[in-house]
């Protein structure tokens, strides 16, 4: 039995099936059931990534889960926001700084931020869907002059379960970004909108002729949001959704993540809407 020691991760992993070891630098609690991990390789630098891509994070002995990048490309670490929904995500959420995880990636394709020069950007995020969009927001804001209007529409459950609240408030201060946040229900202390995200779309200020929409959130929310975006006049080829399916290998060999003709791990997760329009609203595809 030959041995390939990968005790130190350095640059792109040579074998995409074998995890590299990463160190937990920082753990921040976002919500009662959601944490953000900052991960860096034991030595060397982490691979480059595109906003919208994901890594497979491995909790020792338990399993792997696909988590999108949610950090700034300029940071040296990988930043992952993880919600506790199962055995693996719960184990990852309980890590403390200094512990290690396995990491494979980056996999998948990214948001079309580099091809959208001159476009109005409409970002529609629901709940945890803001996490895979945050790197795209960072990239857009870092190069703001390349784009027309930038609109961020974010919906979540209630004001106490709001991801990245501090950052949302910072973005709200900017004069070159329109942000609207809405919640499903609230108490009287909330002075913002109450209602579903699609409701924000008709009132958002963008030119549908030159708008590109990036949508991420629970699939139901994406479906209704896409309808509202189409109603507002945005072309189907200019709408991008981020799909989520069961991931095992993340390299297009195990067959699990198929959604119609696409493998979400390599043809996605970012998917141009017109390519899946006929199956997007179908049950159990």
């Amino acid at each position: 039995m030959s041995t390939a020691s990968t005790e130190a991760a350095n640059g792109r992993p040579s074998d995409p099936l074998v995890p590299q070891i990463y160190l937990v630098d920082r753990v921040s609690r976002e919500l009662p059931d959601t944490v953000t991990l900052d991960l860096s390789p034991l030595s060397g630098t982490r691979p480059q990534f595109k906003p919208g891509q994901f890594n497979m994070l491995y909790a020792f002995g338990i399993g792997e889960v696909a988590i999108s990048m949610s950090g700034d490309g300029a940071h040296t670490s990988f930043v992952h926001t993880i919600r506790e929904v199962g055995a693996v995500s719960s184990a990852l959420a309980r890590l403390t700084p200094g512990e290690t995880v396995g990491l494979r990636g980056p996999f998948g394709n990214g948001w079309p931020v580099n091809d959208a020069d001159g476009s109005d950007i409409v970002i529609v995020a629901g709940g945890l869907g803001l996490a895979p969009l945050r790197p795209a927001i960072y990239q857009i804001l870092a190069d703001r002059g390349r784009y027309g209007r930038v609109v961020i529409l974010f919906g979540t459950r209630n004001p106490t379960e709001m991801l990245y609240r501090h950052e949302l408030e910072q973005w709200r201060q900017r004069l070159d970004v329109d942000i609207e946040v809405t919640v499903d229900h609230a108490d009287r202390d909330w002075h913002g909108s109450v209602g579903v995200v699609p409701k924000l779309i008709p009132r958002a200020a963008f030119d549908p002729e030159k708008a590109v929409a990036l949508v991420c959130g629970p699939e139901v929310m994406m479906r209704f949001s896409v309808n509202a975006l189409l109603d507002a006049g945005i072309r189907p080829q200019s709408i991008y959704v981020s799909m989520e399916r069961n991931m095992k290998c993340a390299v297009g060999l195990c067959g699990h993540c198929q959604f119609g003709p696409t493998f979400v791990c390599k043809d996605g997760p970012v998917t141009r809407y017109d390519r899946i329009a006929t199956i997007f609203a179908m049950r159990e595809i």
Binding site: T6, V18, F60, G102, P236, C249, G255, M282, E284
Partner: protein, 431 residues
């Protein structure tokens, strides 16, 4: 086997092959790939040397020598043999290990062995095993990991296993192997162990002397004649007192091994007899699948009532995926010891029929048997073409034979074709 592209010649006409953009070999002056990606060579010239395309005759003893020669060269020889009342693929040493004098009777949901009135070595069709059990192993440890002071150490087993010699690969199976080649070793990420096993495998094909009860290779243009993808191809000629095999050379490697065995050139009569056998087999197909427009038909009928109909019958047992020679889906299991100091990841065959297959937090995407059957059939016959350029089905009939309730993929497709729903109103955003 696919390394020396420059020296490869087309098995039928001997014309030098060029590698197509999809990795499939095509004649430089052949008709070009059909829509299932397999080249169609109209020529029939044979070379007289033991170069590719040459045809010789060997006896049953010659085949025995061939098996010994392969074993001496370090191949693990596997082929059909009778076991557990079926013809399975397993290690064989002698010609006598083959299902001599046996045939199979196959129908939807039914498989029985029967004695033949002759001693044919290959007088049967395909059984529950496919060659994927050797190439795309059903259980494989991907890596093991041990905790260390400053992290962990990962060990990967690079040993791909023995090199195989496959004896008795049918034409449909050659196509199935080529299809799995495309899926597993020609995508953006290749399965290195699979690619190594493929490269090292020696393939002896067999042209079917009769069609199986559930066969429809003619519909899928995958047989019955073995066209390419083999080192040697046999056609058994058994009439009255003579029992010989016509051997067609497919590659230089095949020619090399054959050259050292006792053989004589095949004559026109023998070649004609072999061709007649194949033609007769082609006429005997037990099934037919209309493939014209099949992809669009299924894509436009995802809500056809027939899916409910088949769901009433389907047990979601997954037999079809286990016996299908192109089904490739796998899952991974992570194990660790009780102390949490070491862990391993094991890859296993999986089936899209399991409840877990499409599970994400909150539940499975495809909960109902209807959805899971629809996924398997539409993947096999429609979306596979989008993904890999060919149909995923080779018409071997195994899924029909081994379905406990006899669901017939050709009948399901025909039922939808007979009564297609009017195309629904175009969905928002159709390109």
């Amino acid at each position: 086997m696919f390394l020396a592209w420059r020296r490869r010649r087309h098995a039928v006409c001997g014309v030098q092959l060029v590698r197509g953009s999809d990795g499939v070999g095509a004649c430089t002056d052949g008709v070009g790939p059909r829509d299932n990606g397999i080249p169609d060579c109209g020529r029939n010239q044979m070379s007289n040397s033991l170069a590719s395309g040459a045809t010789v005759m060997i006896s049953r003893e010659g085949l025995e020598s061939l098996l010994q020669a392969l074993a001496r060269r370090g191949y693990e020889v596997v082929g059909p043999t009778v076991r557990d009342e079926a013809i399975v693929y397993d290690r064989i040493t002698h010609v006598a290990d083959l299902p001599v004098g046996w045939t199979d009777r196959q129908e939807a949901g039914r498989y029985r062995l029967e004695r033949r009135s002759d001693d044919a070595l290959f007088g049967f069709n395909v059984g529950p095993h496919a060659w994927k059990r050797f190439l795309h192993r059903s259980v494989e440890t991907l890596w093991t990991m041990r905790r260390t002071e400053n992290g962990a150490m990962i060990e990967r087993d690079d040993n791909a296993g023995p090199k195989f010699a496959f004896v008795g690969v049918r034409s449909c199976e050659l196509h199935a192997i080529a299809i799995q080649d495309r899926v597993l070793s020609k995508g953006p990420y290749a399965d290195a162990a699979y690619a190594m096993r493929r490269r090292d495998a020696f393939i002896i094909a067999v042209n079917c002397g009769q069609a199986g009860g559930t066969c429809f290779c003619v519909s899928m243009q995958t047989g019955p004649k073995a066209q390419y993808g083999f080192d040697l191809a046999l056609t058994e000629l058994l009439n009255g007192g003579t029992h010989e095999l016509l051997v067609e050379v497919g590659t230089e490697t095949g020619g090399d091994i054959l050259r050292q065995l006792s053989h004589r050139p095949a004559g026109e009569v023998e070649r004609a007899a072999a061709a007649a056998i194949v033609a007769r087999t082609a006429d005997q197909m037990g099934r037919h699948l209309e493939t014209a427009g099949l992809k669009e038909l299924l894509e436009n009928n995802l809500n056809h009532p027939r899916w409910d109909d088949v769901a009433d019958r389907c047990l979601t047992c997954g037999n079809c995926t286990m016996v299908c020679p192109t089904c490739f889906c796998t899952t991974v299991e992570d194990h660790s010891d009780l102390g949490g100091m070491s862990a391993e990841r094991v890859r296993k065959w999986d089936s899209c029929f399991t409840m877990d297959f499409s599970f994400i937090h909150g539940g499975s995407i495809r909960k109902t048997p209807k959805a899971r059957y629809r996924q398997w059939m539409t993947h096999k016959l429609a979306t596979w073409i989008d993904q890999f350029g060919t149909s995923g089905c080779v018409g071997c009939g195994r899924c029909i034979t081994w379905c406990p309730v006899g669901i017939d993929i050709t009948a399901e497709a025909a039922a939808i074709r007979a009564d297609p729903e009017a195309q629904k109103g175009r969905h928002r955003g159709d390109a």
